[in-house]
C-alpha cells in the first residue's frame, strides 16, 4: 500500500463498504475492501485495468452480489437490496457501456427516469432544464442513435441525473470524448455537485481527474492502494509504478 493512504472510512460517509469482497471463479476482483465516499464530495477512483473499479460500482448498485462484506448507503445496510430499491434510496449509475435507449428519442430517454419522481405534466419543464444543463437543447425529438458519441454520453449522465439521486456513480463518463467535451463534462459534474449530489467517478483520463482535483482513490487488485488529494496521488512513486508510469 502507498504512503499517501488516508483513513479510508471518512466521517459523514454516504456510501461505505466493510470487508467487501467479490470473487469471480478464483479471481478476487474486490478483496476485503473498506472504503467510503463522503457526503457531498466528488470522489475519483482510478487504477489499472482489472483493479476492480467497475465491479465495485456494480456491487454498489446491486448488479453484482458480494461474496462477503457489507455496503451501507446513507447509514443503512443495502447489501441485500435489489438494484431498483437502491435506486429508490438515492443511488444512480452510468455504466461504462453506453446505456441509452438507442432507438428512442432524447425526450423518451429522459421521460422514463424522470417519470419515477415527477408527474407527467412536470416532465417537459424538467426535461428542458436537464437538456440545457447537458448542452443538448433542441435535441428532444432526435433519435438517440443519431447523436454523437459525446452527446450520448451526456444523455446517459442526464438519465442518471433525472432520478434526482443523492449519489451518482459515473463509470468512465468521458470515454471517447474530445478534450473540449471532457472539459464540459467536468463542468457539468461540478455544477451537479454544487447542487448537493455526491459523485463517485471512475476514470482513466488523468487530465480530467487533474481538472476535477478532488479526493482520489487508487484501487489495485481489489484493494485501496492509495487515497488522498489527487496532487498527492500524482506525486506518489508507488502509484506511478503500478498505474501512472514512471515520473
Amino acid at each position: 500500500m502507498s504512503a499517501v493512504t488516508e483513513k479510508s472510512t471518512a466521517a459523514g460517509a454516504i456510501v461505505e463498504t466493510r470487508a467487501l469482497t467479490k470473487i469471480f471463479g478464483g479471481v478476487r476482483a474486490v478483496d476485503g475492501l473498506d472504503f467510503a465516499i463522503s457526503d457531498g464530495e466528488i470522489h475519483c477512483i482510478i487504477g489499472p485495468n482489472g483493479a476492480g473499479k467497475s465491479t465495485l460500482f456494480k456491487l454498489f448498485m446491486g448488479i453484482e452480489r458480494p461474496t462477503a462484506g457489507t455496503i451501507a448507503l446513507d447509514g443503512h445496510d443495502v447489501t441485500r437490496l435489489a438494484p431498483h430499491l437502491r435506486a429508490r434510496r438515492g443511488l444512480a449509475i452510468k455504466f461504462q457501456a453506453m446505456q441509452v435507449y438507442q432507438d428512442l428519442t432524447v425526450y423518451q430517454n429522459l421521460f422514463i427516469p424522470l417519470r419515477r419522481h415527477h408527474r407527467p405534466r412536470e416532465i417537459p419543464e424538467r426535461c428542458a432544464e436537464l437538456l440545457a444543463q447537458l448542452q443538448l437543447t433542441d435535441t428532444e425529438e432526435r433519435i438517440v442513435g443519431d447523436l454523437s458519441h459525446g452527446q450520448q454520453q451526456w444523455l446517459a449522465i442526464g438519465m442518471s441525473m433525472a432520478v434526482d439521486p443523492k449519489v451518482l456513480l459515473l463509470d468512465e463518463p468521458t470515454a471517447g470524448m474530445s478534450p473540449e467535451e471532457t472539459r464540459q463534462t467536468a463542468a457539468i459534474m461540478r455544477q451537479l455537485n454544487e447542487s448537493g449530489v455526491t459523485i463517485a467517478v471512475i476514470e482513466h483520463d488523468m487530465a480530467f481527474v487533474r481538472d476535477l482535483d478532488t479526493r482520489t482513490t487508487v484501487l489495485h487488485y481489489g484493494k485501496v492502494f492509495a487515497q488522498g488529494a489527487f496532487a498527492d496521488i500524482e506525486r506518489d512513486e508507488d502509484v506511478h509504478r503500478i498505474y501512472l508510469g514512471k515520473i
Partner: protein, 367 residues
C-alpha cells in the same frame, strides 16, 4: 418537447402518442372508414364469409396480446396460444356447469378471462422473479403450452369430468352426459334482458368487432401512457430501467397478465364462436402462428399486429384446400418479411406513408 401533432389531440390525446402509429386526422378518418367497411360486411357478404371473418377478428385479440408483450415489453413468448386455450376451456367448463342454473354465460365469460390471468400470475411470477429473460421465457412458455396440450389430449377417460363438463381428450370439451347442456354461444343476461350472440350470426360478428376496437383503443391509451414508457424501457434495456428505480419484474409480470387476459378473451370468443374447444390449440403450430402474425404485421404497433393476423388468417384459409402448404407459405412469408422489413410490413408501410405525408406537407409549405 414531445409535441402533440394533431388538432384531434385535444379530444383523442390519450389515444395518441409516440408508441403507436398514426395520430393525425388522416389516420383517424382512415380508421373510422376501415371499421365502417368491416361493419358493413354482413350487409352484402355471404354468411360463410362473415363466420370466417369473425374468426379472423378473434385472432386479432391474440395478436394484440403478443404485440403488447413482445413488441412493447420485449418479452417473447412462444406459448401465447396457451392462454387462448386456457381461456377457451375455462369458458366452456364454467358454461357447461352453470348454464342450466343461470341461463346465461356471464360468469363463464368472466372465468375465461380471469383464469388465464391467475395462471399467468403464477407462472409469470416464477419466471420473472427468477429473473428469466429472452429465449428462456420463449422456450419455457412453449413447453408449458405443449405440456398442457399433452395433458388435455390424454383426458379421454370418462373420469376426466368437472361437474357437467367432460374434458374429452383429443375430441375436445363436451357435456358429461346427455342431460347436460351443449357448449353454448355467448349469452349475456341482466335481469329479464337476455342477449344471445350465436357465432354463426352477424350479431356475434358485430360484438367481436366492437370488442376488438374497444380493446385496441384501450391498449393504445395504455401504451401511450407512462406505463407504456415503462414497458418500452423494459424492452430496450431492462437492466438500465431497473437502475432508475423501476421494479422490472413487476412491470413484466403486469404486462404478462394483461396479455394473458386478452389471449384468454380470444379463447372465450373462439369457443363461443365454434361451440367447441380442443387440445390442438396448445400445439407448436398455433403458438408459432401467433408469432408469425405479429412479426409479419409489426410487433411494435398494435394495429399492425391485428392487420397481420387478419391478412395471414385469410391467406391460410385460402390455402387450406391445398393441404399442409399453408404453413409452408406462412413460413416463407415470415422469412421474406424479416429480410425485407424486419420491423414488419405494417410498420414499414406506415413509415413510408408518414414520410410521404411529411414530404407533401413540406412541399405545400414551400409553395
Amino acid at each position: 418537447m414531445a409535441q402533440r401533432h394533431s388538432v384531434l389531440d385535444r379530444y383523442l390525446g390519450p389515444l395518441n402518442g409516440p408508441h403507436t402509429m398514426g395520430r393525425g386526422v388522416a389516420f383517424w378518418v382512415g380508421f373510422v372508414i376501415v371499421v365502417a367497411v368491416l361493419a358493413s360486411f354482413p350487409e352484402y357478404m355471404r354468411r360463410y364469409d362473415i363466420i370466417n371473418l369473425s374468426n379472423f377478428l378473434i385472432s386479432g385479440f391474440l395478436a394484440l396480446s403478443l404485440s403488447l408483450l413482445w413488441g412493447y415489453c420485449g418479452v417473447l413468448s412462444l406459448g401465447q396460444a396457451a392462454f387462448h386455450g386456457i381461456g377457451g376451456y375455462a369458458y366452456g367448463i364454467v358454461a357447461l356447469n352453470l348454464f342450466n342454473a343461470h341461463g346465461n354465460t356471464d360468469l363463464a365469460f368472466f372465468a375465461g378471462v380471469a383464469i388465464p390471468v391467475i395462471f399467468a400470475a403464477i407462472i409469470g411470477g416464477i419466471m420473472f422473479f427468477a429473473r428469466l429473460r429472452g429465449v428462456y421465457i420463449a422456450i419455457l412458455m412453449l413447453v408449458v403450452s405443449l405440456l398442457i396440450g399433452t395433458f388435455m389430449r390424454q383426458t379421454a377417460d370418462p373420469s376426466y369430468t368437472i361437474g357437467a363438463a367432460y374434458l374429452g381428450g383429443m375430441n375436445g370439451l363436451r357435456p358429461a352426459s346427455v342431460e347436460d347442456p351443449l357448449l353454448p354461444s355467448l349469452i349475456f343476461g341482466w335481469g329479464e334482458t337476455v342477449i344471445e350472440l350465436d357465432g354463426r350470426r352477424p350479431a356475434f360478428f358485430y360484438f367481436v368487432l366492437g370488442l376488438l376496437v374497444a380493446v385496441y383503443l384501450g391498449l393504445r391509451c395504455l401504451v401511450n401512457s407512462s406505463y407504456g414508457y415503462w414497458l418500452v424501457g423494459c424492452r430496450e434495456d431492462p437492466n438500465r430501467t431497473e437502475t432508475f428505480g423501476y421494479d422490472v419484474r413487476l412491470i413484466q409480470l403486469g404486462v404478462f397478465c394483461i396479455a394473458a387476459a386478452i389471449a384468454g378473451l380470444s379463447g372465450v370468443l373462439y369457443t363461443a364462436w365454434g361451440t367447441y374447444i380442443h387440445p390442438d390449440g396448445f400445439g407448436v403450430a398455433p403458438n408459432i402462428l401467433v408469432v408469425i402474425w405479429v412479426a409479419v404485421g409489426g410487433r411494435k404497433d398494435l394495429g399492425a399486429a391485428i392487420a397481420g393476423a387478419i391478412v395471414l388468417e385469410w391467406v391460410s384459409l385460402r390455402l387450406a384446400a391445398e393441404g399442409e402448404i399453408a404453413f409452408l407459405v406462412l413460413g416463407a412469408i415470415l422469412v421474406g418479411v424479416m429480410l425485407i422489413a424486419p420491423n414488419g410490413l405494417g410498420i414499414t408501410i406506415g413509415d413510408y406513408i408518414r414520410r410521404g405525408h411529411d414530404r407533401a406537407i413540406a412541399w405545400v409549405r414551400a409553395r
